[in-house]
C-alpha cells in the first residue's frame, strides 16, 4: 500500500449515516460512515480488504483503531462496531446520523484472500471481535466471491444472546444453503436453539475438517488462546490458522513504535497473522 503522497496522518472527512445499538445492554454500537468526498470513497474501496482496520478520529478525544465490519459490495459506507470502554468510545456512542467524524485507512494487511482461493473457510469468532469476521463472511457471500471458495463454516459465540451482533442478518444465515452457521452462547437461555458453551468446545463439537481448509480465529485473548490448540489437534497446520491481533496504537502506519512486537508492527505488518508467524514472535502480546 502507498499513501499516494497524502499526509497519512490527516483523517478522511466522513459523517455518520446510521448509528444503532448492536447489543441489548447498549455496550456495543454500530456506526456506518459515508465519505464527504467521492474521490476519497473511490480510493478507499480500491485499497480495502476484509480484515483491515481504520483509525477513527474525533478531535479532543483522539484516535482509536477499529476493524471494518462491512464488505465493499454492501454499499458506499464503512461499518464499525464499537464497544463502549474508554473516553473515545464513550463519545463515539453519542454520535448521531449527520455528525462529522474523521477516519484514516484502510490500515493493515487484512486477510490473505488470494492465498485462500479455492479453500474451505472456517471462521471462528467470539464477542465483539467478530466484526472483521462479519466483513469477511459478507465478502464471501457475494455471488462473485462465493465461487472463489469451497465450504464456508462460521462459528460465532457470545456471552449471551443479547450480546450477539448483527442478529437479524446472522439469523438469515441459518436458511442459506451455501454455508454452515454455528452460534453459541456461554450459559443456557430460554428459546435458544443453538449451541451452549464456550467457543473452543463448540469448535471441538463441530470438528471442521482441516482438508484444504484455513481457519480464522478472532475473539477475546482467552478464547483465542484455548481455540488455537483445538484447531491444531483437529489437524490444522499453524500456517493455515490465522488470527488478528490488537494492541494500543497511535499512528497506524508503523511510525510511532507503540504496537511493536519483535520485528513486526501490528498496525502495518498485521493485524492478521498466521499462527506460524505468531510462533516466531516473542511472547510480548
Amino acid at each position: 500500500m502507498h499513501d499516494n503522497g497524502h499526509n497519512p496522518y490527516k483523517p478522511i472527512p466522513m459523517h455518520v449515516v446510521r448509528a444503532y445499538y448492536e447489543s441489548n445492554d447498549h455496550s456495543l454500537k454500530t456506526l456506518e460512515l459515508t465519505f464527504d468526498h467521492h474521490a476519497d470513497q473511490v480510493e478507499f474501496f480500491e485499497k480495502f480488504n476484509p480484515g483491515q482496520f481504520c483509525q477513527l478520529s474525533i478531535f479532543g478525544k483522539g484516535e482509536a483503531p477499529f476493524g471494518v465490519a462491512s464488505a465493499a459490495w454492501e454499499g458506499d459506507f464503512v461499518r464499525f462496531t464499537i464497544q463502549k470502554l474508554g473516553s473515545f468510545t464513550q463519545y463515539a456512542h453519542t454520535l448521531q446520523p449527520g455528525d462529522p467524524i474523521g477516519m484514516r485507512g484502510p490500515l493493515g494487511n487484512g486477510f490473505p484472500l488470494l492465498d485462500w482461493l479455492g479453500k474451505t473457510l472456517v471462521i471462528i469468532g467470539g464477542g465483539c471481535a467478530f466484526s472483521t469476521l462479519y466483513a469477511l463472511t459478507k465478502h464471501v457471500h457475494h455471488p462473485q466471491n462465493r465461487q472463489d471458495f469451497e465450504e464456508l463454516i462460521v462459528i460465532y459465540g457470545a456471552r449471551t444472546s443479547g450480546l450477539c451482533m448483527y442478529k437479524h442478518d446472522i439469523q438469515s444465515w441459518h436458511q442459506r444453503d451455501d454455508m454452515q452457521i454455528h452460534q453459541a452462547i456461554d450459559v443456557p437461555e430460554e428459546d435458544w436453539d443453538h449451541h451452549v458453551g464456550y467457543v473452543p468446545d463448540v469448535v471441538k463439537e463441530v470438528a471442521p475438517s482441516p482438508d484444504n481448509a484455513v481457519a480464522v480465529v478472532c475473539g477475546p485473548p482467552i478464547m483465542t488462546k484455548f481455540t488455537l490448540p483445538v484447531l491444531v489437534e483437529l489437524g490444522f497446520p499453524p500456517e493455515n490458522i490465522f488470527t488478528s491481533l490488537e494492541k494500543r496504537m497511535k499512528c497506524g502506519i508503523g511510525k510511532c513504535g507503540r504496537c511493536n512486537i519483535g520485528s513486526k508492527y501490528i498496525c502495518k505488518d498485521g493485524p492478521v497473522f498466521s499462527l506460524k508467524e505468531l510462533q516466531e514472535l516473542p511472547d510480548d502480546i
Binding site: 499526509n7 494500543r248 513504535g257 516473542p282
Partner: protein, 340 residues
C-alpha cells in the same frame, strides 16, 4: 578532496551562510549544549568532546510538533505548513548524523512517508564534526560506526590546528565548501592519521557478534528482572537517544491542534490498553523492549543495530545504568541458559 576552513574565519563563514540558510550549531546554554540557530551573539561549542546533551533528532522530529489544526466550524482537520526553509546543521557528531540515516528507514519507508520528517530532512545540509578524542562513554566503533563515520552527512570536518579540514561527501556539501582552499596531500595524510588514531583508541565496549541471538534466547530469563531492578522508568535514556522515534499523538483542545510528542516505551501507559490489559506491565518488560528493539528487532528489520553508540543513555541515566554493561551481562547470560 579536502578543503581548509580557517577556524578564525568560522563566524564569518557561518554569518555568510546565514543569509541564505538557517544555520544551526551546537551552542552552550546554561550548563549544557544544544543545537540552536546561529547569530552574531551565539556561543559556539565546537571544542567539547561530548555531543550535545539534547539530541539533534529534534531538528527533524521536534519534541513537540503540530501535525494538524482543527477547524471547529467545519468539524474538520486541516494541514499545517511544515517548515521547509533551507538549513545548515553545522558541527553534528557522526553518531547523531548516522542516527538520521537510521530514522530515515522509519519515517521515509516505502509504504508510508512521514511528511513532517521528510520536508525538514530534505531541506537540510548536514555538516559533521569528527571526534578526535572520543569520551569514555562513547562506543560508536562497537556498533559499526566510528568517530569519523560518513553516514548521514554531506560533509565532515576534522579539527586540526588552525583549521577544520573539510571532506565533501555529497553535492550538497560541495556547494558549501568549493570556494575554500584545498588541503595539500601531506595535510590530507595527516588528517587520515588523526582519524585512524581516534578510532583505534576506542576499545570494543561489548561483543556484538551473536548478541542478537543471545538476546532472543534469554527473552524469558530472570536477567531482565535483575537489570530492571534499579531502573526508575524515567525514560531519559529514550528521550535523549538519537534513534528513539516513538511518539504519542494528542489533541490540544484549546489551541485547536493535534500534536505529537516524543514518547517512551519506558512508561507504563505507553502500552496500556483500554481494556486494562498491559503487555508490558513492569520495568522488566519495558527495559527488555528498549534493549531488544535496538539490538534485536532493528537487525530483523533493516539488518543494522538501532544504536549509534552516542553514549547519552550512559551519561545521563540518573541511577547509572549502563547499556554497555547490560549487554555484556546479557552475553554471559546465554552460556548459563545453555548449560542449565
Amino acid at each position: 578532496m579536502m578543503y581548509l576552513l580557517e577556524k578564525k574565519k568560522i563566524n564569518t563563514e557561518l554569518s555568510a551562510w546565514a543569509k541564505d540558510y538557517e544555520v544551526i550549531t551546537p551552542q552552550k546554554v546554561e550548563n549544557y549544549t544544544q543545537f540552536l540557530p546561529f547569530d552574531e551573539s551565539s556561543t559556539l561549542e565546537l571544542t567539547n568532546p561530548h555531543n550535545t546533551r539534547y539530541p539533534p533528532k529534534a531538528l527533524f522530529f521536534p519534541q513537540t510538533e503540530t501535525m494538524l489544526t482543527y477547524n471547529s466550524r467545519l468539524g474538520r482537520f486541516e494541514e499545517t505548513q511544515v517548515r521547509d526553509e533551507p538549513r545548515i546543521i553545522f558541527g553534528i557528531r557522526p553518531c547523531d548524523a548516522s542516527a538520521f540515516a537510521l530514522m530515515d528507514t522509519v519515517f521515509l519507508s516505502e509504504d508510508y512517508t512521514d511528511p513532517y520528517w521528510k520536508t525538514k530532512r530534505e531541506s537540510a545540509i548536514v555538516v559533521g564534526l569528527g571526534c578526535n578524542n572520543p569520551p569514555q562513554t562513547c562506543f560508536c566503533t562497537t556498533v559499526g560506526g566510528g568517530p569519523f563515520n560518513h553516514e548521514g552527512l554531506d560533509a565532515l570536518l576534522t579539527d586540526h590546528g588552525e583549521f577544520f579540514f573539510v571532506q565533501v561527501l555529497t553535492e550538497k556539501g560541495r556547494a558549501l565548501f568549493e570556494d575554500l582552499p584545498l588541503a595539500s596531500e601531506e595535510q590530507v595524510n595527516e588528517i587520515k592519521k588523526i582519524q585512524k588514531k581516534a578510532s583505534d583508541k576506542m576499545a570494543p565496549a561489548f561483543e556484538t557478534k551473536g548478541l542478537k541471538q543471545k538476546l532472543d534466547i534469554i527473552f524469558e530469563s530472570s536477567y531482565w528482572e535483575k537489570i530492571a531492578e534499579s531502573c526508575l522508568g524515567c525514560g531519559i535514556c529514550t528521550f535523549l537517544c538519537p534513534t528513539c522515534f516513538c511518539f504519542d499523538i494528542v489533541d490540544e483542545v484549546q489551541r485547536k491542534k493535534r500534536i505529537r510528542n516524543w514518547d517512551t516505551c519506558m512508561f507504563r501507559i505507553y502500552s496500556q490498553e483500554a481494556s486494562g490489559h498491559n503487555p508490558r506491565p513492569s520495568n522488566r518488560e519495558r527495559t527488555r523492549q528498549r534493549l531488544m528493539h535496538k539490538y534485536s528487532y532493528w537487525l530483523d528489520q533493516i539488518g543494522e543495530i538501532g544504536c549509534t553508540g552516542c553514549g547519552r543513555c550512559v551519561r545521563y541515566c540518573p541511577v547509572g545504568l549502563d547499556i554497555r554493561a547490560m549487554l555484556r551481562i546479557a552475553s554471559q547470560q546465554e552460556s548459563e541458559v545453555i548449560h542449565a
